[in-house]
């Protein structure tokens, strides 16, 4: 998805410098647009593999256990958990923070790596984004049920009510609510928007009426029109821009839940960066934990290559080391600060306390074990990576356990020291949350494309008009005829990449010059022509516009770079809607917080003035992002005129290829220059195949 800049995957734009290290493609082996569609879509189209049902039933059984635990808790009260004085937060908040953290890898991959043009993200972003959403659902359960009177959970939201009570906008817990709900909403929108072109592919491949209808509705009538792509690409960029600060803010805000309190071990300024690094660390571990088996059983190793795993392991190494640094720095500062309470907490944590074992589990799993990723063999051996990331996941759970339970059990007063003993309900709830996560993940890989097909198509060598195809024998070899690195040899062993198609596959029956439409009006809608590849379509579109046609559109399986200019369009105005949304959200946040906190129900919190605004900043930010995201979605749907479930162009016999591997050009009949015969002849003259006039 590279709508907005003019970069390509190689250095073809610059002077032709010798390239001693040929760039390894992101997808290995022969792959064209149709084969990518086929490889990813067929996972959802064929009957589920034999292991799927047992795995699903086990997950669903665990989920039911969680449901029973939650029901027991709600009907009886939070006393059924082991949380009690002094450890009032234990498994609930541990699991909440654990799952929120898991989600961060998805947003990092989909947003931050997008802004940094890390195109390898396209193979894994869909999967990671889905995991984000499922993890946030798992996390969101705990704040919902740990409030005790579950049916009053809506009190957390600033809704007008007969009691005229409103939440305290200066509380970190309320910031957390806004942060997590914004995070969930934006992640869901981002994920869904990314899915739309792929859902259209599934619709066009569908054989059964049921799949056609379901994916027809879900894809909102997406057909790969360039008029839509030009909004879509910009919307995607906007979402990436909105999500980037969001992903950094969410775990910062979660860390404020602790850092703004006075408990020794919590009250520290290192928390936000330390939590964010830990979240990305744990998130990548969970992505690998799920991705490695899925990649193996669905034979996706040419799309999610060993290099992807390698790069993710490097992320784990980097963030794990940051987290380890934070652990050591915390310990050092506790000693160096001379604060006796802080030091006794950390001494108790690391050396002589009841939970020292948990601290060292955390240290071993998070700091020491990931250091094996300095070695390439360890990064590139999937089964070994799987073992390491399991330790990381365990370690990250223990990190939260140590921070929460250990800090609470030993606070200022020796008289209030105590221990935490989880009950069976705690355990069942926690295991049930894993059941929920894996149930959702299994349903996802069964029913939705787990690789972003449209994005992967855009990074194939054949999609790059500047790609320098060498003879197959020289593929990925250096000037001396040798593979420069072992990675090159490995990538080359999958075979050379497919070259762009040069001819249009003939349909089973020749396309008639006039295609009637069921319940048509008799008048033509326009002329449609198919082209062999994106570069040819781009040329044809430019020539069509140069010939004086105005109502021109190109229909492509991925956004072909430069196509919007070729059909005579400019950059989308969609960012104005994003801006309007952001300003609306910010204004509402300002009015809401000042009205409630300074005027309507003024409360003194922390000795601040009523109008003191600094503590309002987190909610300013969250509401800005939330409204900007919702406005962007509405603008995308509105500017594209979606949903458009019916379109006359669907009648064209080969048009369903358009969302898989076909490239189409259309000229509408409302164009002043349109003439059924002349326009059709013109498109044929440009090299168009299967040219037909479609009835409106």
């Amino acid at each position: 998805m590279s709508a907005t800049t003019h970069e390509t995957h190689d250095t073809a734009h610059g002077p032709a410098l010798p390239d001693p290290l040929p760039r390894i493609p992101l997808v290995w082996g022969p792959a064209d647009f149709d084969s990518v569609s086929q490889q990813v879509s067929e996972i959802t189209e064929q009957p589920q593999p034999g292991w799927w049902w047992p795995a699903f039933l086990i997950s669903a059984a665990l989920l039911c256990g969680g449901g029973i635990a939650a029901t027991y808790l709600i009907s009886t009260g939070v006393g059924v958990w082991g949380s009690n004085n002094p450890v009032n937060w234990a498994f609930d908040i541990t699991n909440f923070v654990f799952w929120i953290g898991i989600g961060h890898a998805g947003t990092l991959i989909s947003a931050i790596l997008f802004l940094f043009r890390q195109k390898w993200r396209t193979s894994i972003n869909r999967f990671a984004e889905a995991m984000t959403i499922f993890a946030v659902i798992c996390a969101g359960i705990y704040p919902g049920i740990h409030v005790g009177r579950f049916w009053y959970a809506w009190f957390m939201f600033p809704l007008p009510n007969a009691n005229h009570i409103f939440p305290n906008f200066r509380s970190a817990l309320l910031w957390d609510l806004f942060a997590v709900s914004t995070y969930f909403t934006i992640s869901l929108i981002f994920w869904y928007v990314g899915l739309i072109p792929d859902l259209a592919t599934l619709r066009d491949r569908a054989k059964s009426r049921l799949r056609q209808v379901i994916f027809g509705f879900l894809s909102l009538g997406w057909r790969g029109s360039t008029r839509h792509w030009r909004h879509y690409e910009v919307a995607y960029l906007m979402f990436a821009g909105l999500s980037t600060p969001l992903v950094l803010s969410v775990h910062s805000v979660v860390s404020f839940d602790f850092a703004t309190s006075l408990i020794p071990g919590w009250h520290t300024t290192i928390f936000p960066p330390y939590f964010v690094a830990g979240a990305i660390f744990g998130g990548f571990a969970m992505v690998l934990q799920c991705m490695i088996p899925a990649r193996a059983v669905f034979k996706l190793d040419n799309v999610v290559t060993i290099k992807h795993i390698d790069v993710m392991c490097k992320f784990i190494l980097a963030t794990g080391t940051i987290v380890g640094y934070a652990y050591i720095m915390e310990l050092f500062v506790a000693w160096f600060s001379g604060n006796p309470y802080e030091w006794q907490t950390f001494k108790n944590r690391a050396f002589d306390g009841d939970y020292t074992w948990a601290y060292w589990v955390m240290m071993t799993c998070n700091l020491i074990i990931p250091q094996v990723f300095w070695f390439k063999w360890c990064r590139q051996t999937p089964w070994f990576v799987l073992i390491v990331v399991t330790f990381v996941n365990v370690g990250m759970w223990y990190e939260r356990f140590v921070i929460i339970v250990q800090s609470l059990h030993h606070d200022f007063l020796p008289g209030s020291w105590g221990q935490f003993h989880p009950t069976w309900v705690d355990w069942l709830q926690m295991i049930g949350d894993f059941g929920l996560f894996f149930t959702l993940t299994l349903l996802f890989i069964r029913f939705l494309p787990m690789v972003a097909m449209a994005e992967v198509k855009g990074v194939l060598p054949m999609a790059n008009p500047h790609y320098n195809f060498k003879p197959d024998a020289e593929y990925l070899k250096g000037e001396n005829g040798e593979y420069p690195t072992a990675d090159h040899a490995l990538a080359a062993s999958y075979g050379p990449p497919t070259r762009p198609r040069t001819h249009v596959e003939a349909p089973p029956e020749p396309v008639p010059p006039f295609v009637p439409n069921a319940s048509g009006t008799g008048a033509p809608w326009g002329a449609v022509a198919e082209f062999a590849n994106g570069a040819e379509l781009l040329e044809a579109a430019k020539k069509t516009v140069a010939a004086g046609y105005v109502h021109v559109d190109a229909w492509t399986p991925y956004y072909v770079h430069g196509m919007k200019e070729a059909i005579g369009r400019t950059r989308s105005r969609l960012p104005l809607f994003t801006l309007a949304g952001g300003l609306t959200g910010l204004t509402l946040a300002v009015l809401m917080q000042f009205y409630f906190s300074a005027y309507y129900y003024p409360i003194i919190v922390g000795g601040k003035e009523y109008r003191s605004w600094e503590a309002f900043i987190p909610i300013f930010f969250e509401m800005t992002v939330l409204f900007a995201g919702i406005f962007t979605l509405v603008a995308l749907v509105g500017l594209c005129g979606l949903p458009k479930l019916f379109h006359p162009i669907d009648a064209h016999p080969t048009f369903a290829r358009g969302t898989q591997g076909g490239f189409f050009l259309s000229v509408e009949a409302k164009d002043a220059k349109f003439n059924p015969d002349a326009t059709r002849a013109f498109l044929e003259g440009l090299g168009g195949k299967n040219v037909a006039v479609v009835e409106a």
């Binding site: 005229h164 209808v213 009538g221 369903a656």
Partner: protein, 216 residues
Amino acid sequence: MPAIFSRSLDGHLRRAAVGLGVAVTLFVIGWYYYALPSYTRVGYQPDQPVPFSHELHAGKLGMDCAYCHQSVFESPHASVPAAQTCMNCHNPKMANVKGNSPLLAPVRASYDTGKPVEWKRIHKLPEYAYFNHAVHTNKGVSCVSCHGQINEMKVVWHDQPLSMGWCLKCHNDPHEHLRPFDKVTDLTWKPKPGTGAEIAQQLAVKAPMSCQSCHR
């Protein structure tokens, strides 16, 4: 490929979306109107075992509220009068005002047996909310502020929502609801605008705003 959906579906979808939007808006508005105490409580007017008319007693006859609700200035509870209070006038053997009216039979029975008349309670606060009549009446809050124009009610109804938000509205800014102490039970007296601050100072009114004032 033949079309999956019919030509008219997109129009239907848009109309359905508009309809859904309108329906949700109406539901939310309806919820806020019908689910709040301003609707669920206000207007509750049960038939009482004795058709006692406040309009007659407190209105036309001009009896003071505290004649029957004796402890309203001294106690958290205003108190519902015992049959003895009624019998001061309605006792057939003494003053004999309508002493033999069949409508008063339950009162006479109560007086004879000592079992109270089973009045239906109209104004009821939740157990977790502590309300003190005496402190309100002594600080210049009239009966009419919470109970409405009782002196005009033949059958008493629930006049105000008595929700927490409703309480807080006055606690936030009590001045316009205050009156001189001797006018507290004068239900026809209307406070003069602008006098509230002075009365508040005289009666040392400090309407508390902390949670613990009512949720003890």
